[in-house]
């Protein structure tokens, strides 16, 4: 049977509401200081950008179930209906790469928001940085940023890209998507906000 018919029979699987969040990819709540935090994310309250969600602080801190962790410092409303992402892996472990890929899965379907991936920074509106900025990729990162036409955004995906996490240094970004790795709903939510929605 042809894939056309199979596809039609399967129906549309895109989810209107976000379902089934992995608990350790949501913001943490708790109180007090926790000295054993490997990335010092709990020095002054909970720092989402530094947290690697390692559960060491559990049960002092526990996941709240709120996946909307992204924060945006610059919005570009021009991208409201058309937003092309160029992912660049500057030194990730690979899980951010897969999670980013999964925002295109039928469940989340980024394309319904007009979000797409592209294979050249020239067509891109945003550079999605994943992983720590390793020495080997520093040059490529700079080139990719330079290759993009204005207006453009830099999105730091995951704690490595934001703060360096366990491994090193992060990058300066307009949009921050915390998580280790961030789940697809977190990513989509932050992207939508970067476009001036919500």
């Amino acid at each position: 049977m042809s894939w056309f018919l199979k596809g039609i029979r399967k129906g549309i699987k895109t989810e209107k509401e976000v379902k089934e969040i992995a608990p350790w990819a949501t913001s943490l709540i708790g109180n007090g200081k926790f000295d054993d935090c490997p990335t010092k994310a709990l020095d002054n309250g909970w720092n989402s950008g530094k947290c690697i969600f390692c559960r060491k602080c559990y049960p002092n801190y526990s996941p709240s179930g709120d996946y909307r962790m992204g924060s945006v410092t610059r919005r570009v409303p021009l991208f409201k209906r058309s937003f092309y992402l160029y992912p660049i892996d500057t030194g990730s472990c690979g899980s951010c790469n897969v999670e980013l890929k999964l925002i295109s899965s039928p469940q989340y379907d980024m394309t319904r928001f007009g979000i797409f991936f592209t294979n050249t920074p020239r067509h891109a509106d945003a550079l999605v940085v994943m992983g720590v900025l390793t020495d080997g990729m520093e040059d490529a990162f700079r080139r990719a940023f330079d290759a993009m036409p204005n207006p453009k955004l830099v999105i730091a995906l995951g704690s490595c890209a934001i703060s360096g996490g366990l491994f090193g240094k992060g990058v300066k970004a307009d949009v921050i998507i915390p998580g280790c790795p961030p789940s697809p709903p977190t990513i989509i939510d932050a992207i939508l906000r970067a476009r001036g929605e919500k």
């Binding site: 660049i88 050249t120 920074p121 020239r122 990729m137 040059d139 490529a140 990162f141 080139r143 990719a144 330079d146 290759a147 036409p149 204005n150």
Partner: protein
């Protein structure tokens, strides 16, 4: 009569050039302008052959102008001018002998170029052998015509035998399939300097076609000879353009493109000879002149542009370029790729149109030939576009330059613009096919193809030339100019170290057409048998030489240079005789 003085003047220039070459070149360009005027006069009397003189004049004008800034070699100027002298003699000739003399004088520089390059022994002697063979064929053809009419003057002949002989004679000189394997054109042009290559490639074809057309006009039509020439022409187009596409030599690519164009021209001559009906053969004749003009002008420009390139292999050459030469070469290559509204585009259109009209007119099993010819030529055009994009990309666009030379590139640009504008003027070559409509194209602008009183198709090149820039301007007005910022080429986050090579550009076709090109993938590269018939030809030429040894042991047996000296002396004598007579 004036024109004869002009020839003597050219002869004098050839002598002057030994000492003062720049002056000779400058005067030669003036001389060429006179020739254009001569051609216009001829054409205004509805003589299609006048077109050859006009085009020849333009070719010599631009190449001699270019030579003023280009010539660095000692013996170049005299041979360059001698070659032009030969062409002039051929173009104004009224007898077979004059024509032949002119033709041989014209080729002297080619012999010279090859004789000097003694490293390539076997191609050189093959070239010689085929050159001689071709001359013999033309000579026999003329002899037969003379026997039929009893006159040495070009006159109507009664059988098509002379035409057959002359056609094959010229086909060899034009490097037509299967003789393209003699590779004489590619080799001759490959080793010649740019300005010499320009006139050799552009006008040698011009003169051969001139001779052929002249004989065709004077001969009775014959459908089978016509169809045969069409078929041969089609294969030349295909193989010429394919070999041009996979060629790595700056001039070799262009030389094979000449083979391709010669094939297309031969196909249109074939169509003219096959004479489907009066209207269509008139259209075909005009197509011949149009195609020759398109090829000669654009090829001149392209060969001149090779004067901006240092080195022989396209991949490793260096280039002088600036906006002028880039735009110029783009225009020239677009004409060579058969794109409207350039001269080459109109020519391609006319050729394909006439071929398919022929198929419709014949309306029999024979239609299969023009259909296949049309299809093969269309494929050839596809390869030609690829070859031309290779040339323009890897000599101008894709390459960074090491400097510029405005004077030379201005000439290249001028030829390019001429080729673009001449596309619209080319409809004057079809005086009885010009019409107009009430749908936006007024009378005088529409070139309609016809095989009877009603139109088959039509184009208005001037309107294309005008409308595309007009719409472009409109789009710029509507959308505005882009805001720009310069940045590095995006190469996946890395600096570009090795650039894509022109060899690699055409390697797909080497791999795809493995059987046709007999590609061998070796451990460290790719080898193709560009010369499928080369070995066979080599054998033929060897046995021909053995045969000719019996007749002319005197010169064929000895060194090539002696043969050359003989040729030069023999034909200088002929020139003097001809001019004096």
């Amino acid at each position: 009569m004036i024109i004869e003085y002009l020839i003597i003047f050219t002869l004098v220039l050839a002598l002057i050039s030994v000492k003062w070459k720049r002056i000779a070149y400058a005067l030669l360009s003036l001389d060429s302008l006179f020739f254009i005027w001569f051609g216009i006069n001829q054409f205004s009397l509805l003589n299609y052959l006048g077109v050859f003189s006009i085009v020849g004049g333009f070719v010599w004008f631009f190449s001699s102008l270019f030579s003023i800034f280009y010539d660095h070699e000692k013996w170049l100027a005299p041979s360059f001018i001698t070659s032009i002298l030969g062409m002039q003699i051929a173009l104004i000739s009224s007898t077979y002998l004059q024509f032949l003399a002119g033709y041989e004088i014209m080729t002297i520089p080619a012999y010279f170029a090859i004789g000097v390059n003694r490293l390539m022994k076997s191609p050189a002697f093959t070239f010689m052998a085929f050159g001689e063979f071709s001359t013999v064929l033309v000579l026999v053809g003329f002899l037969d015509a003379y026997l039929q009419t009893g006159s040495l003057y070009f006159q109507h002949v009664f059988t098509y035998l002379p035409l057959v002989l002359v056609s094959f004679g010229f086909m060899i000189k034009m490097g037509i399939f299967p003789f393209l394997v003699t590779e004489w054109l590619p080799i001759a042009h490959g080793s010649a300097p740019s300005n010499l290559s320009a006139i050799l490639s552009a006008s040698m074809t011009l003169i051969a076609v001139y001779g052929l057309t002249r004989m065709a006009i004077l001969s009775p039509s014959d459908i089978f000879l016509g169809l045969l020439l069409m078929a041969i022409g089609a294969f030349s187009t295909l193989f010429g353009s394919l070999y041009s596409y996979v060629n790595e030599h700056v001039k070799g690519l262009l030389a094979f493109s000449t083979v391709e164009n010669d094939g297309a021209i031969l196909a249109s001559i074939g169509l003219y000879i096959s004479y489907p009906n009066h209207v269509l053969s008139l259209f075909a004749l005009a197509t011949v002149t149009l195609f020759v003009s398109a090829h000669s002008l654009a090829k001149t420009g392209l060969f001149l542009s090779t004067g901006l390139i240092q080195g022989e292999s396209i991949s490793s050459s260096n280039t002088l370029k600036d906006t002028f030469s880039v735009v110029g070469v783009v225009l020239l290559t677009s004409s060579m790729s058969g794109l409207l509204p350039t001269l080459g585009g109109v020519a391609t259109w006319a050729l394909l149109e006439s071929l398919f009209m022929d198929a419709f007119v014949l309306h029999s099993v024979l239609s299969i030939i023009p259909i296949l010819v049309g299809t093969i030529i269309a494929m050839g055009e596809g390869f030609a576009t690829a070859a031309m994009i290779k040339y323009v990309s890897f000599t101008q666009i894709f390459k960074t330059s090491y400097g510029k030379d405005i004077r030379k590139s201005a000439i290249v640009l001028t030829v390019g613009v001429l080729v673009l504008i001449a596309g619209s003027l080319s409809i004057f070559l079809f005086p009885s096919f010009i019409s107009g409509t009430n749908l936006g194209v007024p009378p005088g602008f529409l070139l309609s193809s016809r095989f009877s009183s009603s139109a088959f198709g039509g184009i208005a090149p001037f309107f294309i030339l005008f409308l595309i820039p007009f719409f472009s301007l409109l789009l710029i007005l509507v959308f505005g100019k882009p805001k720009t910022r310069t940045a590095e080429v995006w190469n996946n986050g890395r600096e570009i170290k090795d650039k894509y090579t022109s060899f690699a550009y055409s390697n797909n076709i080497r791999l795809m057409l493995r059987k046709l090109l007999r590609t061998k993938v070796l451990i460290n590269g790719v080898e193709i048998a560009e010369d499928i018939f080369w070995i066979a030809m080599l054998k033929i030429s060897r046995s021909y030489i053995k045969f000719s040894k019996l007749i002319a042991t005197a010169y064929m047996n000895s060194d090539l240079r002696i043969y050359m000296v003989y040729m030069i002396i023999a034909f200088i004598v002929v020139v003097l005789l001809v001019v004096v007579i």
